[in-house]
């Protein structure tokens, strides 16, 4: 039976440097939970603390109500898929998958059946007698997966499991992993630096930076309402536009240039310098708006990507979908750009935290 994971105030120190800096997490049973962040943000360190390969310098980690801090790594009952797969090179596919079951002293007949089932789940039953050196990267990945979940662990950890595969295989394996996780209903913690992968695969994402968690939310919310400018820049593409915020009756006047300002509500009382984050699809051309000139238009099939130089001196990216607008606008064309005030996010300049 898979378990929920509670992390309280976890810290990992290397000298004075805190690689994991007071992290709290509450991961639900059966959830596909992703730790996402740039390299060096502490995500793998945290994962290895859960696995038992890094010590927990402060705080606690629980599976259900069992405190894990002083449980040895080999007694934690966790499945793990390593970045480089870590397939035992001297064992066959079958022996690799059976390894954990043997360690648990599962009866031989049981082992045979469960290995067979696991290999079928990841569709490599035909490769059972092969040695790892005779497998492709994708096949090794499947062995690593089967080996990790066949022991029916409390939770499954995955450390950038797709980063060594080519782009096409990565997308394919992503689907395999997601479907498998749904079918087994096993609590999974997944580490990646690839924001697209995280959006595609997760139930919830924790975005990490400098050993701390910036935001925990569903992929949709993380994309649509990034809690600070770091997340807005890290997930997807954002145009950051400077603005001045002034109180105007119930709402706020947000002025971007002399000629253009928008009126919208904010969640917090704030006046002064601000930053707007607008996705390329949250900008559009119209009769009025910020004046500018198209620098480069790139036709990409389902949409056209425009680089527009605004008269504020800033260059922004704007996407126009071909199903909405069939005409590709030529370079050098004078245009006006408006913002979708229902969708954009506004941040204060000081703390770079969301206020809209």
């Amino acid at each position: 039976m898979s378990s929920n994971v509670i992390i309280k105030n976890a810290v990992k120190k290397y000298g004075d440097f805190k690689a994991v800096n007071h992290i709290d997490l509450d991961i639900n049973q059966g959830e596909f939970f992703t730790l996402l962040g740039p390299s060096g943000c502490g995500k793998t360190t945290l994962l290895r603390m859960i696995a038992g390969f890094n010590s927990i310098d402060e705080g606690q980690i629980f599976f259900g109500d069992i405190l894990l801090n002083n449980v040895d790594a080999h007694k934690r009952d966790i499945g793990m898929v390593f970045q480089n797969y870590a397939i035992f090179p001297h064992l066959t596919v079958e022996e690799n998958v059976a390894y954990g079951l043997k360690a648990k002293k599962v009866p031989k007949e049981q082992i045979r059946i469960r290995v067979q089932e696991a290999l079928e789940q990841v569709q490599i039953e035909k490769l059972r007698t092969r040695k790892p050196s005779e497998l492709s990267g994708g096949q090794q990945q499947r062995v690593a997966l089967a080996r990790a979940f066949v022991i029916e662990p409390q939770i499954l950890l995955m450390d950038e499991p797709l980063s060594n595969l080519d782009a096409k295989l990565r997308v394919q394996m992503r689907t395999v992993i997601k479907k498998l996780q749904r079918r087994l209903g096993i609590t999974t913690i997944y580490v990646t630096h690839d924001q697209e992968e995280a959006l595609a695969i997760s139930d919830r994402i924790a975005v990490m930076k400098d050993g701390q968690i910036m935001q925990i939310d569903s992929p949709e919310k993380i994309y649509k309402k990034p809690q600070n400018t770091f997340i807005a820049g890290f997930i997807g593409v954002s145009n950051f536009i400077e603005c001045d915020i002034m109180k105007a009756d119930k709402n706020y006047d947000i002025s971007i240039s002399k000629d253009y300002s928008v009126n919208m509500p904010l969640n917090k009382n704030y006046t002064g310098k601000g930053i707007i984050s607008a996705r390329p699809e949250q900008l559009s051309f119209s009769e009025e708006g910020i004046p500018g000139r198209i620098v480069l238009s790139t036709f990409l099939g389902d949409f056209v990507e425009y680089e527009v130089l605004l008269n504020t001196g800033q260059t922004v990216r704007l996407n126009e979908y071909t199903k909405d607008e069939s005409q590709v606008k030529p370079d050098e064309k004078e245009v006006h750009v408006t913002l979708d005030t229902n969708r954009i996010s506004v941040y204060d300049s000081e703390k770079e935290e969301v206020i809209s």
Binding site: A51, G52, F53, S55, I56, D57, N69, N70, D72, A73, H74, K75, R76, D77, I78, G79, M80, F82, Q83, N84, A86, I87, F88, P89, H90, Y99, G100, A103, K104, R147, I151
Partner: protein, 549 residues
């Protein structure tokens, strides 16, 4: 909540391993240093031994001689080894694989059979000397510095060759192509790109030559005659029938170690500044030459390899020649082998028994030490990493004296026992196994061990079932090198052997001293054949992944 020290399996292993090395390496060597500061006459703490060394020309001249022969041999081996490496890596030299194996053979052969064979050929009664004397030509004498340098050159050039060719075949092709593309011709490319890039490797090989020749005892002992070098002086001072002076011998030992250590440190200092680590995506191509050109490229290689391998051939041939008390009398016979079977059976048995025991211990220690050094890091790892370099700079004769000085009284009275011979083997030859084991382990990703632990196997069991299993080829290859050098070990054994613990190498030495060349040749043949067979097994197991140097 934080456990400061884990009292687990590895904790005890670290304690055990470090304690073993401290007892058999640090303690003896410190005893030696301590001893060197005591005056033999007064028994007081003093610098008398060192003053005596630097006052009397008889003593300090040996240091200059040692530095001279080692320095010259270093230059000659570079002059021979580097072009050899270039030809062998860049051209389709005829019989390349066999040449390569023969070069390794000449490095791995017993150190003093070179001396023996050159005496057989060019000595006073040598075959070649007699031949030229018949023609009325007198050859320059082989005894003294010329002979020593010659033997060192052809025995030790493989160090330079192996280091350099290793580096040359890992230069990415694009590097030279870029130079060519920028308008450099072949010679300019060699001088401005290829050679500077492999310079650190050449230096590493040269330092090995210098240290090995500085430490060698057998060759100068047999060929030096009046030309006494430092290790021979150490031996004489210690063994002298007038009642040797262990304190002076200790001081001399310290001087040798200081010399080789400073050379090593200077090299490390420069290498750390200039280290071009490369993994060749596209190794350099081997130029295909044909006909006469191929012949002229193969010829120098063949000559050098021939010179290197002559000792083995001479030994094998002379072992089958009939002898009596006057020397070789012509005609073939198995007489020499019958003699050694009758008289020296113990030596043969000792050699193999001691070496096998030593290898078992070396393998065990080697696995554990490699693992601690590579995986556990930390303080114990750093200490072991340093300790394991030590035997490289301590010449065998010096280690021999250290062990005697340290273990000549109860509670650890080991002098004259088989145990002290085995201890010397283990301490001196362990580095080969550790180096090869840790090289293997470094290439092995740690996550493989973590995967096993993660699947519920305890770290200790994981070590024995996964890690040790995967390290096996590296450990085995290293162990064979340790084995080869064990059976051929002379310099420490000659200090440590007692009536019942003599080995083949010691017997060869004493037989040559007694002018009993036939039996010496037969004994040397046994070692040579064992070495050759072991080396072939090594090449098979290591598959080129483990270097012999």
């Amino acid at each position: 909540m934080k456990r400061l020290i884990k009292l687990d399996f590895w904790f005890w292993v670290k304690i055990g391993v470090v304690a073993t090395l401290v007892l058999f390496l640090i303690y003896p060597f410190s005893s030696l240093i301590y001893r060197s500061f005591f005056s033999a006459k007064t028994g007081q703490l003093s610098l008398a031994n060192y003053f005596r060394f630097f006052e009397k020309p008889y003593y300090y001249r040996t240091l200059f001689r040692s530095l001279f022969v080692s320095g010259t041999a270093t230059v000659t081996t570079v002059v021979i080894g580097v072009p050899m490496a270039y030809l062998m890596t860049r051209y389709n030299v005829l019989g390349k694989k066999i040449m390569h194996i023969l070069i390794i053979m000449s490095l791995m052969s017993p150190p003093f059979i070179g001396a023996y064979s050159w005496i057989m050929l060019f000595g006073r009664a040598g075959v070649v000397t007699k031949f030229f004397a018949g023609l009325g030509i007198t050859l320059p004498t082989i005894y003294g510095k010329l002979g020593i340098i010659m033997v060192f050159t052809f025995k030790l050039f493989p160090y330079v060759y192996l280091y350099t060719s290793g580096a040359m075949s890992s230069i990415d092709r694009s590097l030279e192509e870029a130079a060519e593309n920028l308008g450099s011709n072949k010679i300019r490319r060699l001088l401005t790109i290829s050679l500077p890039v492999v310079m650190p490797s050449i230096a590493a090989g040269a330092v090995m030559v210098f240290m090995t020749s500085l430490a060698d005892f057998g060759t100068p002992m047999l060929m030096g005659e009046g030309y006494t070098v430092l290790p021979v002086l150490v031996y004489n001072e210690y063994m002298s029938e007038m009642g040797g002076n262990a304190n002076l011998a200790s001081a001399l030992s310290v001087i040798i170690v200081v010399c080789s250590m400073s050379v090593l440190l200077v090299q490390k200092y420069f290498v750390s500044k200039k280290n071009y680590v490369m993994t060749a995506m596209r190794p350099p191509v081997e130029e295909q030459v044909h006909g006469l050109k191929r012949f002229f490229i193969t010829l120098p290689v063949l000559l050098v390899v021939g010179m290197g391998i002559i000792p083995q051939a001479v030994v094998l041939i002379t072992s089958f020649i009939k002898t009596d008390f006057t020397g070789f009398i012509g005609g073939f016979s198995l007489g020499s082998y019958e003699t050694i079977a009758k008289r020296l059976g113990t030596n043969i048995r000792n050699t193999y028994v001691f070496s096998i025991i030593a290898i078992v211990i070396i393998v065990l220690l080697g696995i554990l030490i490699s693992y601690i050094v590579v995986r556990q890091r930390g303080k114990a790892g750093a200490i072991l990493d340093l300790l394991i370099m030590f035997p490289y700079v301590i010449p065998g004769a010096v280690l021999g004296i250290s062990l005697i000085v340290a273990f000549n009284k109860p509670p650890l009275l080991l002098t004259g026992t088989a145990a002290i011979m085995v201890v010397a083997f283990v301490v001196r030859k362990l580095p080969y196994t550790v180096r090869s084991g840790s090289a293997f382990l470094q290439q092995m990703d740690q996550s493989i061990e973590e995967a096993s632990i993660n699947l519920g196997v305890s770290p200790m069991k994981t070590f024995f079932t996964v890690t040790a299993r995967l390290m096996a080829p590296g450990i085995m290859s290293g162990a064979i090198l340790s084995w080869i050098t064990c059976i051929n070990e002379l310099s420490s054994s000659v200090m440590l052997y007692g009536g019942k613990t003599s080995t083949i190498a010691v017997a060869i030495y004493t037989e040559i001293v007694r002018n009993s060349y036939g039996t010496a040749a037969a004994l040397a043949s046994i070692l040579t054949v064992t070495t050759a067979v072991s080396l072939l097994i090594f090449l098979k197991i290591s598959k080129g992944k483990v270097s012999v140097v």
